[in-house]
Amino acid sequence: MRTALILLRKDLRLELRTLETVPAMVLFALVTIVIFHFGLNQNAIDGQLAAGVLTVTVLFAAMLGINRLFVAEREQGGFDAFLLAPVDRTAMLVAKAAALFLFLAALEVIAVPAFGLFLLGPSLGPPLPGLILVLALADLGLAVIGTLVSAIAVHTRARDLIGPMLGLPLLIPALIATARAAGPLLAAGHPASTPPTRWLEILALYDVVFALLAYAVFDFLLED
């Protein structure tokens, strides 16, 4: 656990000093919102459509982060250094997933209000607590699956292609649940105050199963 914290601190410091990933994700999300405005030809959207747009925006921005997650380790020899150290390899999974989770949270702190300002019809205030819960669960899934996929993709020749190709289908169930859970919250008129529990349960189940799965197989991705 201590190793994971040290690795996480290293990743966060690296990000704060280089500002390579999170600003790119935020800009990408903002541009995506603008593209949705023109693509859908709508000034304000609500309900399931709004939930879908928000989910897709977060997903595509997350893909940028997922692609970059292990690049520094590979290019600067971080993997070798980590493997030489007498530490549990799971620490790398925990640290990277936590870093990705924090990147996603930072992204959403800016992207969700921007979405509320630019595109969302109903006010963002009332559904916000529910939305935070849904997005937190979604980020957990994105972080775990993203770390797993990124660790596979980083050693392949076509790493920028393999990442999204593997990641998108694996994330579809999580995205279905996220979009469906957020839909009623963003409805015009009388929005629901809490997200539907069935979808939260599915999202949580998905997160737990993939966390266990990633824990089980991650060691094999580092072996050399």
Partner: protein, 244 residues
């Protein structure tokens, strides 16, 4: 390299497959009654559903075999897993096409989004379609096997999870005439279905053994050529995602 012969018992298995498949087709066309609402076209059910089920079972089977590779590090497990997924993909594409034909005939559209089984199947197929590109893009053979095995295990676990999520996402719009558990499948149809499921399962096993035998023989021939002719004269291996 192990000298396991996968050809052993292949002839008997092939004959059993042939007989069961013939029996299944005879039952489909001459025994099972016509569906009252859908008529003759409903008979594609006896091909489509077994294809899809066997394909999914094949993916999970590939994942289980991949565990064998990660535990032992023996390349033959990776080969088994590869062939299982390869066959699963072929069966799956067959299942998707027959499903599409059935959808067009009974609902009037080639693709129906509110049929959860069809949609979840498409997602699984999209995931496993990346299995071979993944193998191609890793050059080191040992790493290729290891990463492909991790992928196969994750994919195998994804199959049931994905099904749960998509199932929950779709309210049934169409009446479910043909579910496996419900009692509304008449016994004669049920029997026909079980026989054709068995026939396709046997077909899968036969093809799996066949491909294993072929891959095994090919690698042995290549090894012999290399010893006899030397490395320069032996023809290089063709482009394939299969482990060598």
């Amino acid at each position: 390299m192990p000298s396991t012969t996968y050809g052993k018992g292949l002839r008997g298995l092939a004959l059993a497959t042939l007989i069961t498949m013939t029996a299944a087709l005879v039952l489909v066309f001459f025994y099972a009654p016509l569906d009252q609402t859908q008529g003759f076209v409903q008979k594609i059910f006896y091909v489509h559903v077994p294809l899809a089920i066997i394909s999914l079972v094949g993916f999970v089977f590939g994942g289980v075999l991949a565990i064998g590779y990660l535990r032992t590090g023996d390349r033959k497990w990776d080969m088994r897993s590869y062939v299982a997924i390869h066959m699963g993909l072929i069966f799956g594409i067959g299942g998707l096409i027959t499903g599409s034909i059935w959808a067009k005939a009974s609902w009037g559209h080639w693709w129906v989004w509110n049929e959860p089984t069809l949609v979840s199947f498409l997602i699984v197929l999209l995931l496993f379609a990346t299995y071979q590109p993944l193998r191609f893009s890793i050059e080191d053979p040992e790493r290729q096997s290891r990463y492909a095995s991790v992928f196969a295990i994750v994919g195998g676990a994804f199959v049931p999870l994905n099904y749960i999520a998509v199932q929950a996402a779709t309210a049934y719009v169409h009446p479910r005439v043909l579910t496996l558990t419900s009692a509304n499948l008449p016994p004669s149809m049920g029997l026909t279905f079980v026989v054709s499921l068995l026939a396709f399962a046997l077909l899968y096993v036969t093809l799996w053994k066949y491909e294993m035998a072929a891959k095994n023989a090919r690698s042995q021939v290549r090894r012999l050529r290399r010893t006899l002719l030397g490395d320069d004269l032996a023809r290089p291996a063709g482009r394939s995602a299969a482990p060598l």
